[in-house]
């Protein structure tokens, strides 16, 4: 069989950049919606559970509203996710042609979870009118499981790209033998998967909380808003310290498994022990500029001792080094910085709550919560930049370069421009629709909650009798 042909270098480089930008943009868009798809069900069901357990109409109202907002974000996430599965083939045909049979199985599993979540989301939304309290609650639980399972499947496919194993190649580079369990449980899944699931819970929790914090800052200080802020905020704040622990483990594993990525993240030019940790700054050929240096800390973080040897970029062949080290370094630092700030926010709330069973009185607390959603999304993006840009120049670490995988199709830049416009319209409309829903709930109360993409419609009933 003729292998897919390689193309001339210049065209290939322009295509490579366009394809990478397009992939990064669409993935960055989808990952926010995917996080909501993974974590919102648990937040909705927490409110639902509280509502049933304590017979609390406010909590029930929140659960009902959130489930309707979730239906909208899930529907948009489903289409942006479909776009990504097209892009795998459209942008990286040679990657899929060569390795689809090795790691594709993870996506087959994801398909089941996604299908399950879509079905039970529809059942849950229908259930508001057609199922009794606890039966309705339990009809939503499969969404939570499917969300986490789906995140596992997709992220383990990515961790396989970082730590590929479970396949054998023949002399021509074709996959001839596979071990699906080794593919799924590759060395990176154990830290990438929990890191992403916790990130999803943080993004969803802080984002929902920030909506209600803004409402409270605007003077809507009723019980509904307080509860609407505290339920998701508590979930996100519980996830935060665990996330910092998982992230720390992940960084150490990256130092072990992908030293080039780690050297890029930390701007380590010269390998060796007693490595300085640089906080912030710009990576240049002659060292890090404008950073806060902390002596020996980097070595200590990697191996709990200043004597720990850390690989430097000088030990990596130039063609295997990740590009854009400053971007990697600042993204990593910003992610860690945001995570730490969110931890402080949680400690603040926990302390005040412990002292007087209330949220801090100062508006600065609400302001902090109000920006926490955007901050969590930024941290999510920064984390993915570190993972993905840090793996470059490889699409499959050590086996296939991204430049070997890219399509030869013309017009990727045009496609990118078109997608930018399409997604700008999509994002704007989604936000307008969600804001419209919230305004209607506020102005017209429960009677006019409107319809959702999955819910039972109302129109036909009267007219059919006519």
């Amino acid at each position: 069989m003729p292998p897919l042909q390689a193309l001339p270098l210049a065209a290939s480089e322009s295509n490579l950049l366009a394809a990478r930008e397009l992939m990064a943009f669409t993935l960055g868009f989808h990952i926010v919606l995917a996080s909501l798809g993974v974590a919102l069900p648990a937040i909705v069901l927490t409110a639902n559970w509280l509502g049933l357990k304590r017979n609390d109409p406010d909590a029930m109202r929140l659960a009902r509203r959130w489930s309707k907002a979730m239906a909208v974000t899930f529907a948009v996430g489903a289409v942006t996710g479909t776009v990504l599965s097209f892009e795998f083939g459209l942008l990286w045909p040679r990657f899929m042609a060569r390795f689809g049979d090795a790691f594709g199985i993870a996506f087959a599993i994801e398909g089941i979870f996604f299908f399950t979540e879509a079905i039970f989301l529809a059942i849950y939304i229908y259930g508001w009118k057609r199922l009794s309290g606890w039966a309705h609650f339990w009809s939503g639980v499969p969404m939570v499981i499917a969300g986490v399972g789906g995140a596992f499947s997709v992220v383990t496919a990515n961790s396989w790209m970082n730590q590929p194993q479970g396949f054998a190649l023949d002399a021509a580079g074709k996959v001839v033998e596979t071990e699906p369990l080794k593919v799924l449980f590759n060395p990176a899944w154990g830290y990438e998967v929990p890191h992403m699931i916790l990130a999803a819970y943080m993004v969803a929790g802080f984002l929902v909380a920030s909506v209600y914090a803004v409402g409270m800052l605007r003077g809507r200080r009723d019980r509904l808003h307080r509860l609407g802020m505290l339920i998701p905020l508590t979930i996100a704040l519980i996830a935060t310290p665990i996330q910092i622990f998982v992230g720390d483990t992940a960084a150490r594993s990256v130092a072990d498994h992908q030293p080039a990525k780690f050297a890029g993240m930390e701007c380590i030019d010269e390998g060796g022990n007693h490595q300085t940790e640089y906080v912030g700054g710009v990576c240049t050929a002659s060292g890090v500029k404008g950073a806060i240096p902390i002596r020996d800390l980097d070595s200590f973080l990697v191996g709990f001792s200043a004597d720990t040897e850390v690989t430097g970029l000088n030990e990596i062949p130039p063609r295997d080094r990740p590009p854009a080290n400053t971007l990697l370094h600042l993204s990593f630092d910003a992610m860690v910085g945001i995570g730490t700030a969110l931890l402080v926010l949680g400690a603040w709330l926990a302390f005040v709550w412990w002292r007087r069973r209330d949220i801090p009185r100062t508006p600065w607390f609400l302001r902090a919560v109000a920006v926490s959603g955007a901050a969590a999304i930024l941290a999510l993006w920064f984390g993915w930049i570190v993972t993905e840009v840090g793996r470059q120049p490889w699409i499959v670490q050590g086996y296939m370069r991204t430049s070997e995988a890219v399509t030869q199709a013309d017009g990727i830049w045009f496609a990118f421009a078109g997608v930018l416009l399409l997604y700008a319209a999509l994002g704007t409309t989604a936000i307008l629709v969600l804001r419209g829903m919230s305004r209607r709930w506020r102005e017209e109360g429960e009677g006019a909650e409107g319809e959702t993409p999955y819910g039972p419609p109302a129109e036909l009933r009267g007219e059919t009798a006519a």
Binding site: Q5, V72, D101, V175, V433
Partner: protein, 332 residues
């Protein structure tokens, strides 16, 4: 049957489900598009929305299923398709984005103007997506996708057979949708809508029939291998499809409702499997055989296991959803 053939059968099953359920969804979008102004089209549109709402997402998961099975079980065929037919595939993807999001938003916006804009995007993309999907299938049948990929990005699908198959996809979806909507209207006891959609089902059946016959001539000219297969091993299925189609016509003309849906579905299913039988053992006629492109054994085994689990987990859940939505239909 080898494991590779089993995987190909799963792929075809997914394609069948997508063609029937997804196709009917797209067809409903077409009827929505040409239902007339806001006053005249209000009732048909309400029935369409009513029938689609519970299942419109689930029906489209089959597309993801097809993509995933294709790249896992037959990665080279996937690479070849994507590197050749990227233009129609990208346009189909745009249609999917517009369709899914517009349908979602239309349910959640209030003003008439916004609803109308969303509705137009939804309806237009409902036509565009199956058309470009059809050109992809036609290009494969015509043998315009070389095994090594990077076939001609334009002449591979801008040719009589692919364009005809694109039109056939649109017509088939419209036909299925009109039949389903006739049944839904019947069960909702909306006699006017029942007549409305049964007239359209008749029209769509005739158009689809004419396109199918034209397709046979185009196959004879441009896709000799598939043509020989359809008139050889695939002939019983072609005849079955034609008989089902004629049966639907007879029922529609007599105003009968029982058996309408199974026959309409049967016509489409027989045609899809007839195509599969006709191009067997090729995945891409006539450059790539199923066995040549297949993934290593353990991957195929894993895929079969995953498919088994999917049947056990997803089907009961899907059944429950259909039951909940039908229960509502009945309660009206």
């Amino acid at each position: 049957m080898t494991r590779a053939d089993a995987a190909a059968a799963i792929l075809w099953t997914g394609a069948t489900l997508y063609a029937v359920f997804g196709g009917a969804d797209f067809g409903a979008g077409l009827w929505d598009l040409i239902a007339g102004d806001a006053v005249k089209g209000a009732r048909p549109r309400a029935l369409i929305e009513h029938s689609l709402t519970p299942v419109w997402e689930a029906n489209h998961v089959w597309l993801i299923f097809i993509l995933v099975v294709l790249w896992t079980a037959f990665p080279e065929a996937f690479g070849a398709l994507m590197s050749t037919l990227y233009v129609p595939l990208a346009l189909a993807a745009v249609g999917i984005v517009l369709r899914g999001s517009a349908f979602a938003f239309r349910k959640s916006v209030q003003s008439l103007r916004a609803r109308r804009a969303m509705g137009a995007a939804f309806a237009l993309s409902s036509v565009m997506t199956p058309f470009f999907m059809g050109t992809v299938v036609g290009a494969v049948a015509a043998g315009n996708v070389p095994a090594g990929g990077n076939g001609d990005p334009f002449s591979s699908w801008i040719a009589p057979l692919p364009l005809l198959v694109g039109a056939l996809f649109v017509a088939t979806g419209a036909y299925l949708a009109a039949v389903f909507l006739t049944s839904d209207a019947h069960r909702s006891r909306a006699a006017d809508l029942e007549r409305y959609f049964s007239r359209r089902a008749l029209l769509a059946a005739l158009v689809a029939g004419v396109l199918a016959v034209a397709g046979i001539f185009a196959l004879r000219a441009d896709a000799r291998y598939v043509y020989d297969g359809l008139t050889g091993n695939g002939l019983p299925l072609v005849i079955a499809s034609a008989l089902c189609g004629l049966g639907v016509l007879a029922l529609l003309l007599r105003g009968a409702r029982r058996g309408l849906r199974p026959l309409a579905v049967g016509a489409v299913v027989a045609l899809i499997w007839g195509w599969g039988v006709a191009q067997f053992p090729y995945l891409l006629p006539t450059s790539l055989k199923i066995t040549q492109s297949a993934a290593p054994g353990p991957t195929l085994d894993a895929l079969l296991v995953v498919f088994g689990i999917a049947v056990l987990v997803v089907l009961p859940a899907l059944g429950m959803l259909y039951w909940l939505s039908q229960r509502e239909l009945l309660s009206e």
